[in-house]
Subunit: 93 residues, 2 copies
């Protein structure tokens, strides 16, 4: 029972973080699609704010001992990668 | 044993959030002390960023079921109050 509870919080933490990361990925995708439209601005500030918010959530979950540091880093890294692809595409637009 | 583990995560979450709130309160205090010095800027952006970060941590803890929504709100409200006192003092400087 003890470990079930523990796993439950861990699982919930992972599930919430994945959900939030998915929302940002979706935002990035929308921005990417917008690139084909002329003079469409890049909402960098919105994305940066969301990324910062997620990083604080992940950090908090790691400090709580619910999420492994490496898993948190992997989640952030994959978003950073998509973001940099977006930035590159925007620069070369 | 089950409830001990649960309380442990709850207690840790509360303790981490209180620690982070204390850091912001300290930042506000430093800014307040700086008001007596001429031409000292108000680092509003820094404070706003830290407040946003904390609000995301609290929200995450609430979603995890580790922190009561009202407790989270109380923590944010007390900081917002200190912040508004600082803003007022800065405006009337």
């Amino acid at each position: 029972m003890t470990s079930e509870i523990k796993i439950d919080h861990r699982e919930k933490a992972y599930s919430l973080l994945r959900k939030d990361a998915e929302k940002i990925a979706q935002l990035i995708k929308v921005q990417m699609d917008n690139l084909t439209m002329p003079q469409c601005p890049l909402y960098e500030e919105v994305l940066d704010t969301q990324m910062f918010g997620l990083s604080r959530e992940i950090e908090f979950a790691v400090r709580l001992g619910l999420v492994d540091e490496m898993d948190g880093k992997t989640l952030m890294d994959s978003l950073e990668k998509e973001l940099s692809i977006l930035h590159e595409a925007f620069t070369n637009k």
